[in-house]
C-alpha cells in the first residue's frame, strides 16, 4: 500500500543477508532479532506456566506424585516457585514487550532502517538466550534449582550449605541474572540511541506513537536499574564463592557457624529493590504504550491527552525509582522512612489514574471495533485497575505488615504486573501479527482465548485476595497441616481449577499462532486502518523496512476521524495543507 510521502530512494547501509545462519540465527536485522526475543519469551512463558501448574496441583493434592518431578517435597516446591518467578519476570515480562515487539517495531515506527547498533543488538539477544539456558540448567545440576525465590534474599541465597539447590543451582541462578543484566543493558543502550538519533524527518518526539515513548522510557529505566542488579549479583557471587561477607552476617547453618560475619542482608534488599520496583514498570510500561495505541486505533479517535500520557509515563518512571522501600516495610524500617516510601508509592496512583481516565476518555464516544487486539487492550485496562487498586492498600506500612507474607500480595502483583502485562503482549501479538507474518490470526480462536483468559484470570486472582486476607501464607508448600489454612482449602481448590482452565485456554492461543502463520487469511498492508509508519510499508516489511526509501512524517500518530480528511484516518506520512477552505 505504501501510502504517504517518502524522501527519495536510497540504498540500505547493509545488504540483506543470504544463507540461513546469517538470516535467521546470527541476524543483524532488528525484525529477526525481535522475533527471536518473542519466541524465546514464548518458550519461557510455557515453561513458567508449567511450573505454576505443578505448584497449584501440589497445593491441593500435597501427597500426589506428579509427572516430571515425582512427589513434591517442600524444597522442590520452593525451587519451582523460584524458577517460576525468575523465568516469568525476566524472560517473559521483560523480554517479550521490550526485546520482542520493541525491537521489531521501534525502528519502523520512527522511520529508521534498523537499530543504531545492529551487532550490539544481536549480541544482546544471544546473551539473553545464554542467560535462559544457564537458568534452565539449574534444574539439572546436583541439588537442583535454588530455593531462595526470585528475589534471592541472603543469607539463604548466599550460603551454599543453606539447603539443596543452594549449591551449583544457585550459582547458575546468579550467573543467569548477571548475564540477563548485561543483555538488558546493551539493549537499553540501543533503544535510547535509536530513539534519540534515528527518527525520520518530521518525526518529532511529540509525534512518536506512545508505544515508542513507552519503549524509550522503559529503556531508560532498564539502563538505570539493571546496572544496580548486576552489581548486587556480583557481590552475591563473591559472597557465595570467594568468602566475602557483603550480605552474610554471623550466622549458624545446620548447627555450624558459617565462615562469614558482619554482612548485611538488608544491603541486598536495598540494591535488589532499587532494581526490583522499576522492573515492575519495565514490565508494564510497554503494555501501557500498546494499550494507548490499540484503544485509539480501534475507537477511531485520537488518544485522549497525548501529552498527558507521555508525562504520566515519565512520572511513573521517575517515581518508580523512589519507592523501593515499600518492599521492605517488614525489615524493621524506621517509621519515618516507611512513611516517606508510603507517600511516594501512593503518589504513583496519580499518573496511573491519569492514564486510566485517558484510556476511558478515548473509548468514550468512539466507534469501537471489538477486534481481538482491542479486547485485550480493554482487558488490560480492567486488570490494571483491578490489580492497581490494591496497590494503595499495600503502600500503607500498617496494612502491608499483616498482608505482606500472604497470598494478597501474590494476587496484587500477578494481576497488575503479571497478567496485565501479558494481556499487553497478547494484544500486541494479535495487532502486529499481520505485519510480521502477512496473515491474520483466526478471530474466533482469539475470542475464545480472550474470554477464557479474562474470566480465568479474575477467577484465579480475585479469590486469592480474599484467601490472603484470611491470613493464608505464601511460600508454604502445604496448607493442609495447619488448622485454619486447612479450612481455607476450598479456596485453593477453586483457584487451581480456574488455573487449569485458564492454562488450557493458552493452548488455543499457541495453536492459533502457528496455524495462522500458514493458514490465516492473507493480510493487506494496513488491515486495521491505522496511521503509524509500520502500516505504510509492505507486509512483511522488507529488510530495510521501507524498501530503500526514508519516510517523511507530517502528522501525529493518532489522526482518526479528522474533519475534512478523505478517510477516517490520516497516515503519519500524508502531507496536510494547513490552509482551510471554509
Amino acid at each position: 500500500m505504501a501510502t504517504g510521502e517518502f524522501a527519495g530512494h536510497l540504498p540500505h547501509a547493509h545488504a540483506a543477508p543470504q544463507g540461513f545462519i546469517r538470516k535467521w540465527v546470527f541476524s543483524l536485522d532488528h525484525k529477526v532479532i525481535g522475533l527471536q526475543y518473542y519466541f524465546l519469551a514464548l518458550t519461557a512463558v510455557f515453561v513458567g506456566m508449567l511450573l505454576s501448574l505443578l505448584m497449584r496441583i501440589h497445593l491441593i493434592w500435597p501427597n500426589a506424585s506428579l509427572p516430571l518431578v515425582g512427589e513434591i517435597k517442600p524444597e522442590t516446591y520452593l525451587s519451582l516457585l523460584t524458577m517460576h518467578g525468575t523465568i516469568m519476570v525476566f524472560f517473559v515480562l521483560t523480554t517479550a514487550p521490550q526485546g520482542g515487539f520493541g525491537n521489531y517495531f521501534l525502528p519502523i515506527q520512527i522511520g529508521a532502517a534498523d537499530m543504531a547498533f545492529p551487532v550490539l543488538n544481536m549480541l544482546s539477544f544471544w546473551v539473553t538466550f545464554l542467560a535462559f539456558v544457564v537458568l534452565i540448567a539449574a534444574f539439572f545440576v546436583t541439588g537442583g534449582a535454588p530455593l531462595h525465590g526470585w528475589t534471592g534474599y541472603p543469607p539463604l541465597s548466599a550460603l551454599q550449605s543453606a539447603g539443596t539447590g543452594q549449591g551449583l543451582g544457585a550459582d547458575l541462578w546468579v550467573i543467569s541474572i548477571a548475564l540477563f543484566c548485561l543483555g538488558a543493558l546493551m539493549s537499553a543502550l540501543n533503544f535510547i540511541t535509536t530513539t534519540l538519533d534515528m527518527r525520520a524527518k518530521g518525526m518529532s518526539l511529540m509525534r512518536m506513537p506512545l508505544t515508542c515513548w513507552a519503549w524509550f522510557i522503559t529503556a531508560i529505566l532498564g539502563l538505570l536499574a539493571f546496572g544496580v542488579l548486576l552489581s548486587a549479583g556480583i557481590l552475591l557471587l563473591l559472597d557465595r564463592n570467594a568468602g566475602t561477607s557483603f550480605y552474610v552476617p554471623l550466622v549458624v547453618v545446620n548447627g555450624q557457624v558459617a565462615a562469614h560475619k558482619g554482612g548485611s542482608p538488608l544491603l541486598w534488599q536495598h540494591l535488589f529493590w532499587f532494581f526490583g520496583h522499576p522492573e515492575v514498570y519495565i514490565a508494564i510500561l510497554p503494555a501501557m504504550g500498546l494499550c494507548s495505541q490499540l484503544v485509539s486505533v480501534f475507537s477511531r479517535k485520537p488518544i485522549f491527552g497525548y501529552k498527558a500520557m507521555v508525562y504520566a509515563m515519565l512520572s511513573i518512571g521517575i517515581l518508580g525509582f523512589m519507592v523501593w522501600g515499600h518492599h521492605m516495610f517488614m525489615s524493621g524500617m524506621s517509621p519515618y522512612t516507611a512513611f516517606a516510601f508510603s507517600v511516594m508509592t501512593m503518589a504513583i496512583g496519580v499518573p496511573s489514574a491519569i492514564k486510566t481516565f485517558n484510556w476511558l476518555g478515548t473509548l468514550w464516544g468512539g466507534k469501537i471495533r471489538f477486534t481481538p487486539p482491542m479486547l485485550f487492550a480493554i482487558g488490560f485496562v480492567s486488570l490494571f485497575v483491578s490489580g492497581g487498586i490494591s496497590g494503595p492498600f499495600l503502600a500503607q506500612p500498617v496494612l502491608d505488615i499483616p498482608l505482606h507474607e500472604t497470598y494478597f500480595v501474590i494476587a496484587h502483583f500477578h494481576l497488575i504486573m503479571g497478567v496485565a502485562s501479558i494481556f499487553g503482549i497478547f494484544g500486541a501479538t494479535y495487532y502486529w501479527f499481520p505485519k510480521m507474518f502477512g496473515r491474520m490470526m483466526n478471530e474466533r480462536m482469539a475470542q475464545i482465548h480472550f474470554w477464557v483468559s479474562f474470566v480465568g484470570t479474575y477467577a484465579i486472582f480475585m479469590p486469592m485476595h480474599i484467601y490472603g486476607m484470611a491470613a493464608a501464607l505464601r511460600r508454604y508448600s502445604q496448607s493442609t497441616e495447619v488448622a485454619y489454612m486447612r479450612d481455607l482449602l476450598p479456596w485453593q481448590q477453586f483457584i487451581t481449577a480456574a488455573a487449569i482452565v485458564t492454562i488450557a485456554g493458552q493452548f488455543v492461543f499457541l495453536f492459533n499462532l502457528f496455524w495462522s502463520m500458514k493458514y490465516g487469511k492473507k493480510a493487506s498492508d494496513n488491515p486495521w486502518e491505522a496511521t503509524t509508519l509500520e502500516w505504510t510499508t509492505a507486509t512483511p516489511p522488507p529488510h530495510d523496512n521501507f524498501a530503500g526509501r526514508t519516510p517523511v512524517v507530517y502528522q501525529g500518530p493518532y489522526e482518526y476521524s479528522v474533519p475534512g480528511a478523505p478517510r477516517d484516518f490520516v497516515m503519519q506520512t500524508e502531507p496536510a495543507m494547513e490552509k482551510v477552505s471554509h
Partner: protein
C-alpha cells in the same frame, strides 16, 4: 478544517533525518558518541551501587560472639604506594589517548599520517597500568590482605578489579583500532573507534581517580 493532499512530494526532503543509507562520518561519530554516553550511564550505576554498598558496609557494626557486643570490624587497608605510580601512568595515558584521538581525526580528514604512534603508546601505558594493578594485588596479598580478609579489603579488590576489567575492554578497543590501522581498513571506522575509545578511556581515567580517592580518603 484541514485539507489533505494525497500526492507525493518527493522533493520536499532530499533525505530523512536518520540518513541510514549513506551514513556520513559525522552521523556515525555522533551516533557512536551518543551510544557511548548512554553506555557510560550504565557503568556509572554499577559504581554508584558499589559506592553505596561501601558506605553502608563501612558503617555497620558486627556482632562479636565472644563478648556478645556490637563491634566495628572495618580495618583501613594501607594502600601500596605503587597505586600512586599507577595513577600517574593512567593520567599520562589519558594525555596520549587524547593526542591519538586528534591524530586519528586529522588523518581521516586530511589523510596525512603523523609520525608518533600515540595509539600504540596508549595501549602500552594502559597495559602498564593493568600490570601495575596486578602487582598491587600481589603486594596486598603479601601483606595479608586477601579478598575475604576484611570488608575493607573486599571492597579494595572489588573496586580496583571491576575498574581493571573495564579498562581492559578499552585496551581491546584500542588494539582493534591499531589492527585496523595496520591492515589499512576503513579509515573512517578506525577514526570512529579511536574517538569512542578515547572518550571511554577518559571516563575510565576519571573513574579511577574517583575510586582512588574513595579508597584513600574514605577508609
Amino acid at each position: 478544517m484541514r485539507n489533505f493532499s494525497s500526492t507525493l512530494d518527493t522533493s520536499a526532503f532530499p533525505n530523512g533525518a536518520n540518513g541510514d543509507a549513506v551514513l556520513s562520518f559525522e552521523v556515525r561519530l555522533r551516533r557512536a558518541r551518543l551510544g557511548l554516553l548512554v553506555g557510560l550511564v550504565g557503568i556509572v550505576m554499577v559504581f554508584i551501587s558499589f559506592t553505596s554498598a561501601y558506605v553502608v558496609r563501612q558503617g555497620l557494626p558486627t556482632l562479636d560472639p565472644g563478648t556478645n557486643t556490637l563491634v566495628r570490624d572495618w580495618f583501613s587497608v594501607r594502600l601500596p604506594s605503587l597505586l600512586f605510580l599507577n595513577t600517574v601512568v593512567l593520567l599520562i595515558s589519558g594525555g596520549s589517548m587524547e593526542l591519538a584521538r586528534r591524530q586519528a581525526l586529522r588523518e581521516f580528514r586530511s589523510e596525512i599520517e603523523s609520525g608518533i604512534p600515540w595509539l600504540a603508546l596508549t595501549v602500552l601505558l594502559g597495559l602498564s597500568f593493568l600490570v601495575g594493578q596486578w602487582t598491587v594485588w600481589q603486594k596486598l596479598a603479601a601483606s595479608g590482605f586477601y579478598l575475604s580478609t576484611n570488608p575493607s579489603s573486599s571492597f579494595v579488590y572489588l573496586l580496583t578489579g571491576t575498574h581493571a576489567v573495564h579498562l581492559l575492554g578499552g585496551v581491546f578497543a584500542l588494539l582493534f583500532a591499531c589492527g585496523a590501522a595496520l591492515l589499512r581498513r576503513e579509515p573512517e571506522s578506525r577514526a570512529v573507534v579511536v574517538d569512542i575509545a578515547a572518550w571511554y578511556w577518559h571516563f575510565m581515567t576519571v573513574l579511577w581517580v574517583y575510586i582512588f580517592c574513595l579508597l584513600k580518603f574514605a577508609r
